[in-house]
Amino acid sequence: MKKNLYPLVLLGVLALLPLAVKSNYFLHLMILFLLWVVIGSSWNIMAGYTGQVSFGHAAFFGVGAYTAGLLFQHLQVSPWWGMALGGIVAMLIGLPFGAICFPLRGAYFALASLALGEGIRHVATIAENFTGGMMGIMIMPTFISKVPYYYIALGLAILSVLSIQLIIRSKPGYYFVSIREDQDAAASLGINTTLYKNLSLSISAFWTGMAGALYMNYMGFIDPNVVFSLHDYSVMAILVAIVGGVGTIYGPTVGAFIMVAFQEFFRTGFFGLFDYLGEATGSSTITTLSDAVHQAHVLGFGILVIVVILYLPNGVVGDWEKIKRNVFRINPSR
């Protein structure tokens, strides 16, 4: 029972956080973290639990964001309504995609999903009259303070993780994992593999679309290269889940935290440490190094991927026992 307390404690801390922290910068990072919890967990239910690896989650994220943005732009509907619809529209995009691509197995499916993401990005770029093309969509944010966004993001994260946890511990969850482990065996056990793969995809697309719509509301600006970005969303979603632990409930949450921290760490030059050193010593080498570190966050990601896959293939949560053993020198058998 002790283990079940961690999420509650974490929740309490997250709920009270805005009372203690007034820094907008920090709240912004937390909102990003919460968004990634949603996206990472969504990717995880489809890839980690059902075994259908997607390289195209940016499609669902972007469609969610565009749903909210376009509803406002064309029909003056509040983008908050768009948030409710964003998830549903993402799901509607996912269904025909699933119907077409689920007969494909393994790497072929992954490639098809990659094509989906890239295809929709091109469409959003070319259909200028409807989407504004590369000009993107701009809306006025509803709130000036970041606190409301923080709580909405927190709510979304809690709802998505809870719902996924519920699903995983019931019939569909067992069916998802059975499909991941052996599709033929699953079919022989009376599992309609196509139906359940589509169900998994729908849940995944729905939450990712919601996250996208929230992003539109929060950031106030989107364009095709931002929200349909292969690296910033499709690949990042994979990284979040892998670093945290594929096929575990809290893995993506841990992964989201690590990845957002990691990204910021590089982007700010170890939280300004290099800038400070550069100014303090007046050394031009350190200033150059500092610039290099600013630019290196993608390089850092790449190296992180390689290191994680080599040494922690099941992620921080999945390989927790291994980490305890090797890093903290805790040997459970003793």
Partner: protein
């Protein structure tokens, strides 16, 4: 009519290069059963090698002899130290190797950005802009040479795969890894050699492309995409298929650019990709059985 013929010629010449890119990819996909999502990035690296050598006065076609061995070695290192260790590791996702290539691709791109910045680089040669005419149809000198070299490499690759022991072992591994292991093929070593060869072939494509294209760190991604479209078109592990796939993509792209407009070039590739997945899963291999 001339426009059509001109487009046709341009497409086929481009297709020769694409075939070279595709053969490397299809070998890797066939032998290891994984998609190498760093394929275009390897080519990008070869282009920078060509660029650096060019600033020292080396002709791009001579740099083939430097870039290919270099990339061959890099391919071997990647397969031996980054991809093969993953086979033994038990993980939930079988796609770990594919994800690893994503990481490798990111690292290669960023290293190039560090070394050369994001600016577009050009290689200027005396012949890059030269053309000659057959009737009313113009042929780009550089692309024609590239096509010829690509054909030579493809033929050499064929001979290698069909006539040498190593080539036979590679084909055996591609068809059935377990059976090949049982027949005494050291499949671990074969995967290493194959990745090296695949990298060397795509490096050749990079050197040939360098004089007629611009060079920037992010060009890897789109070419990786082209590589797997070609492979899907041709069928996994099929060398003949890769040639068909390369030429088809080259033709489709230049037709698309001529008759629809430049911005549709990428869409054409994606459309073909989706159509093939839908209507011809298995690619041309299904039709030719090669």
């Amino acid at each position: 009519m001339d426009v059509f013929l001109q487009t046709l010629v341009a497409g086929i010449l481009k297709g020769g290069l694409y075939a070279l890119i595709g053969i490397g990819m299809t070998l890797i996909m066939g032998v290891m059963g994984i998609i190498n999502l760093a394929h275009g990035q390897l080519m990008m690296l070869a282009m920078y090698v060509t660029f650096v050598l060019n600033t020292m006065g080396v002709d791009p076609y001579v740099s083939l002899f430097v870039a290919m061995p270099l990339l061959f070695l890099l391919g071997i290192v990647i397969q031996k130290f980054l991809l093969n260790p993953l086979i033994k590791v038990e993980t939930i996702l079988p796609e770990n190797q594919v994800l690893m290539t994503v990481g490798i691709g990111m690292v290669l791109t960023e290293i190039a950005r560090f070394a050369f910045s994001s600016d577009y680089k050009y290689i200027t040669t005396g012949y890059a802009n030269q053309t000659f005419y057959l009737g009313n149809i113009s042929f780009s000198m550089a692309l024609t040479i590239a096509f010829g070299v690509a054909l030579t490499f493809t033929a050499a690759m064929f001979w290698f795969l069909l006539k040498t022991d190593l080539g036979r072992s590679i084909r055996a591994t591609a068809q059935d890894k377990d059976a090949a292991t049982l027949m005494g093929v050291n499949t671990g070593r074969i995967t290493v050699v194959t990745f090296g060869l695949g990298s060397a072939l795509v490096a050749a494509a990079g050197c040939l492309l360098a004089p007629v294209y611009y060079i920037f760190p992010d060009l890897g991604g789109p070419f990786t995409a082209k590589a797997f479209i070609i492979t899907i078109l041709g069928g996994l592990g099929s060398t003949v298929g890769a040639i068909f796939g390369g030429v088809t993509l080259g033709l489709a792209e230049s037709m698309g650019a001529t008759y629809f407009g430049m911005e549709y070039e990428d869409i054409v590739g994606l459309t073909i990709f989706i159509l093939v997945l839908l209507f011809l899963p298995g690619g041309f291999k299904r039709l030719t059985k090669v």
